[in-house]
Symmetry: C2
Subunit: 384 residues, 2 copies
């Protein structure tokens, strides 16, 4: 009586993740190479205000580059500058303005949005690109450590809604990611440091040798040396890319193993009204879940000491007053709801290896918070 047809297909995605310097130097053909095709596509640039303010020549450089490669691509309009940081994801009129710009400037599905900025602006403009015409081509040009070594190379975009981080968004791979290391030189110390927490995260759950490399280079990274910064970005980005392509790029399952330390981090950002930046919150979240792993007997005291020491060496805070009280615990439920399915939290089995658990003990979380506060205040690590 019933007829059941099974629909089955796979959608292939492919994009380059490039690491370069002086992206808009007319000698540098990376961007032109990405845009080169049968047609001369329109490209609409959107720039993070933090970047535009610091790099006052950037818009002129883009125009000169476009003039040089006018046989390859055309600027759709004057580059648009949008406010940077989480603010651009909290105000939903901002993504709507980008959507409206695609309408006004006739940006079709074979044209490009090229977005230059930190992770928040990449997320917001990526969302606008993903839903306009069911997907306009997107070139991400991340300008922060955090976006170059982690979020910018991935497949997600989002804005915030209902007080929930990343409530609206899609999984939509970009057409290219172009990381220009020169943007990092003008970051303030907080942003220089913040992104390194994502590298600590991926090292702790996946790669002991990378963790050891971070320990060996922690001081140099804190001292703003470029060579280890570049090396850690490429290494971290590669691990992130391998993880995405390895299984479940669009996260249909319950597990999200790359989110070590993130349940608390997301909540902390919101509780602090985004005073604490994402990378800073991730450092605290890593410290928290590492301490919790220690209190559960999963990792040794020496392991925990090494983690805390690295986080401190890099200059991160270990504690924030928002960790205290009952609000933090709500982050667990929100994290579960955002992922869907069973609560799945990554903890540490040992340095370089994560383990998934499906519940957390509230008292043990509170004890972990108390320990973090003591690490922070006394500047002392646990001693046996």
């Amino acid at each position: 009586m019933n007829t059941i047809l099974q629909q089955t297909f796979s959608v292939p995605f492919r994009y380059p993740v490039c690491f370069t310097e002086d992206l808009f130097d007319p000698q540098n053909t990376i961007l032109a190479d990405v845009l080169r095709g049968e047609r001369v596509p329109k490209v609409l640039f959107v720039i993070d205000s933090g970047v535009a303010d610091t790099h006052t020549q950037l818009i002129q450089q883009i125009k000169t580059y476009a003039e040089t490669f006018k046989a390859v691509f055309a600027l759709a309009a004057e580059p648009i500058v949008v406010i940077g940081g989480e603010a651009c994801k909290n105000d939903d009129t901002l993504y709507q303005k980008i959507v409206e710009a695609t309408h006004l400037y006739g940006i079709d599905r074979h044209s490009y949005l090229a977005v230059i900025g930190g992770g928040a602006v990449l997320d917001m403009v990526g969302f606008a690109a993903a839903i306009s015409h069911r997907g306009i081509r997107l070139i991400r040009i991340p300008t922060t450590v955090l976006s170059q070594n982690d979020s910018g190379v991935g497949v997600k975009n989002s804005i915030n809604a209902f007080g929930k981080k990343n409530y609206l968004g899609t999984f939509t791979p970009p057409n290219a990611v172009l990381n220009d290391f020169n943007f990092l030189k003008t970051l303030d110390d907080r942003d220089w440091r913040a992104g390194i927490s994502e590298a600590i995260k991926v090292a702790l759950i996946k790669d002991l040798s990378f963790f050891e490399w971070l320990e060996a280079n922690g001081k140099a990274l804190a001292n703003r040396e470029m060579a280890p910064m570049k090396e850690h970005i490429i290494r971290s980005a590669k691990m992130h890319m391998d993880h995405i392509s390895g299984k479940d790029p669009f996260e249909f399952g319950s597990s999200r193993p790359l989110d070590f330390g993130h349940w608390a981090a997301h909540k902390l950002e919101k509780l602090s009204d985004f005073r604490i930046r994402h990378g800073e919150a991730v450092a605290i979240g890593i410290a928290l879940d590492s301490t919790y792993s220690f209190l559960q007997g999963r990792i040794t005291q020496e392991d925990l000491n090494r983690i805390i020491k690295l986080i401190k060496t890099l200059g991160f805070e270990l504690f924030a007053p928002e960790l205290q009280g009952e609000q933090l615990i709500k982050g667990l439920k929100e994290f579960q709801e955002h992922l869907g399915g069973q609560l799945t939290i990554m903890l540490l089995e040992k340095l370089g290896k994560g383990v998934e658990v499906h519940q957390m003990d509230e008292n043990l979380i509170h004890q972990s918070v108390a320990l973090l506060q003591s690490f922070q205040e006394k500047s002392n690590l646990i001693t046996s």
Copy 2:
């Protein structure tokens, strides 16, 4: 100096497209089978007001079904009724209400939205599902001929914006499509007929034998006989599914061969302020591009006569005053912009075989419109 990493992966999709009757009869396990899993997921139903008004017992049937299968799934809340037809895609507060409902009722990425209605409501609710939590699971329950044989089995969702049809949307496959033929019995004659135009379309460009079957069954279809209606829906849906899985499901390329007759149809809907429904506009669009194909010498007069005769047999109009004047031509440019890339229009090479062209002659379009008007007014076909 530069480092370039290539990211490559494929995302697999799989979903059943079922054809049944009495979907919410507790004896019918199709829906429960789709929802059955390790967890008991929440399901939020959204119902087209046109369906809810006609099927006054539907909400109670859903509740009884949910009670019967409470070990399998749980209703997240009272079903939500939304206005049906294109109106639900034109008012952007309506999709926002669905998004807000997912927030209010804690619909996570492993919970379901189940949407019952015509193509417009499926499109709108599908868009809300696609962007909430970066994708909530979606069950489509199409209730019209058009949505059962064509749009409902596909991978698109959308709302309208800036006066442009489907300006916002994504390519997001549903988790299941459940077609209940009983919903068709209560359609008014216009909606019963409208969807058949999509079958004519796919037959004309892909399958002569299906076109001949439609000719043989045209009168029975017009007389609202259920047997040929069911057969044509399954056959048409299957062709649509095969086309999607065959190549380029997310339409990264320029070509969209299934859109025969649609450039004019989209424009006509808007020019008529949606007085002309999508399926009716597609019938006119098919007649127009078939006539154009004839005037270009691509198909014979006999071929054109057969097409016009079938469209008339089914009770469609062939002409609308909005076809006259210069506005229609603008639809070509809008169609190109929506697809992106080069203008690509499907014409007929012969009955059952389409051919893509990359330009259309304005004068020939006007002449085609004039011929359509004469077919309509004189009820006469071309005679040699």
